[in-house]
Symmetry: C2
Subunit: 295 residues, 2 copies
């Protein structure tokens, strides 16, 4: 069994996982997705869970990426410092069984650019370049609970920073005084764009958010509050990311959930920055393939 | 019984209340503070609660300020639009019993300056001017769950805006991924000032907050995380408030909890803006006295 024959690729996150059997020619022979994320695996249950994956997809070498390599996962795969490419990731794989079951490490940043970490996104980003879907010097955005903005240079992860955009929105929606006003689905609608415009005009988040409460109390409900709040947060996120991008990109590559990509796309378009979307599954598969080619 | 003789002043908030009997000469004859805020008053229980206040402090005319005048309080006292002074507040008192029991209204702002509301702070602010402790054209900051920045012009509340600074900090401390790192008491220490400095340097809140998580994971714990997070939020708050203050104040009057005032004081000092503190109780009493003089 070698990585040049069939192998299994797994993207194992906190709440979900996806697994594929990839043939020698790169074709997907079989795959599944379920909600057996880290949180659903009992103490000491990872060997059995991995064996169950092989029962479904066949007895092949297996590479796992994502939070499975965190201190809450199967085994901690220490972060590789950026700048980092596929070769550095391949060299730092945490092997459960050498050549047979390995965990791809995350990437970290220290020093002047600011402390930051990622785990899972690095595989997607490098995969997007390998697919030719992202240029080797792209600015990539991975929206989510903790949105990542990743600057590629010569096909390597040069620097990145993480925004708590999704988590702050969820906190507001679930636990804040605004919760009763933030019940609707967020869409890239007029309210969202008004929030984005306010953020780009320099509106402070802490102040802009209270405006939602004030307009509600005063009966001034012109915008859909959930969309406006999301627009304010994502607008602030996008504005800061573009401002700190020294290469002044006018195009951003988006990888992630389609509904979130649509929101970032709208926010970027409002700032005359074009964007293209890449499917997350395609990117993971290409990234893991790239790493197997270095084994 | 007239307002020129003894009267009772009540500052009745959501979770606490304070009540004073004020003599004709302005001296405090008796007072108490307890935790019978709005949330502790049963449906229809306000008349009995007010009667109990009179049993303790005497049968005198009574003015109530704060959230007791909100739609979750005793009776809604509609907001007075700014610019607003004590005369406008006095004219808009919601009388439970005319001349005997009245609720001071809050103040609202609409139009270009942005929708905003306050309820309780207006009495303190006007009281601070009446005491001669705040100049009639002061920039006043009232830190808290929803921090208020109030611009006075000719002794009137000219405009203001509210920041969700305290609430966002509490959400992060209680419910976010940062919660395990935000357990310490916040002090105006080195970590706090580092957060303030980051905010003044333009660090985005959403990004700066994740840095706390990243430094923790990477073992780069140079600053106390709770102080840093608070400094980042308060720094962002102060920076936005100073930037939007068209009068470019170099002095801010702080009214509120001493521990919060100390934090804002430190953040302002780091930006070369001086501040002075006014005791909230003194300000409430002076504000209510000012209003009684117009009855």
């Amino acid at each position: 069994m070698t990585w040049q024959d069939s192998y299994i690729a797994v993207d194992w996150g906190t709440t979900n996982r996806r697994a594929w059997r990839v043939e020698a020619d790169g074709e997907i022979a079989n795959s599944f997705a379920d909600d057996l994320g880290l949180l659903a695996v009992p103490e000491g249950g990872f060997p059995a869970a991995a064996a169950a994956i092989r029962q479904r997809l066949g007895d092949h070498p297996m590479l796992l990426a994502g939070m499975v390599g965190s201190n809450r996962g199967w085994r901690e795969a220490p972060y590789v410092p950026c700048p980092a490419g596929a070769d550095a990731l391949a060299a730092a794989i945490a092997w459960i069984e050498p050549g047979y079951t390995g965990i791809v490490p995350g990437v970290c940043q220290t020093g002047e650019a600011g402390a930051d970490v990622m785990r899972g996104e690095e595989v997607q980003v490098l995969g997007a370049v390998a697919l030719g879907l992202a240029p080797p010097d792209a600015l990539i955005c991975h929206p989510g609970t903790h949105a990542k903005w990743i600057r590629l240079h010569d096909g390597q992860i040069a620097r990145f920073h993480t925004m708590m955009t999704g988590e702050v929105f969820n906190l507001l929606k679930t636990h804040s005084i605004l919760a009763p006003q933030l019940t609707s689905q967020v869409l890239p609608d007029k309210g969202f764009l008004a929030g984005v415009a306010a953020a780009f005009a320099g509106q402070n988040i802490l102040s802009g958010l209270f405006g939602i409460r004030a307009r509600y109390l005063l009966g001034e409900g012109s915008h859909e509050p959930a969309s406006f709040a999301s627009g304010l947060l994502i607008g602030s996120d996008v504005r800061a990311a573009l401002a700190s991008d020294t290469a002044r990109s006018r195009e951003v590559v988006l990888i992630g959930r389609p509904d979130l990509c649509a929101l970032y796309e709208a926010a970027l378009a409002a700032h005359d920055v074009s964007s293209r979307r890449i499917d997350g599954n395609d990117a993971v598969l290409a990234g893991i393939r790239l790493i197997t080619e270095m084994l």
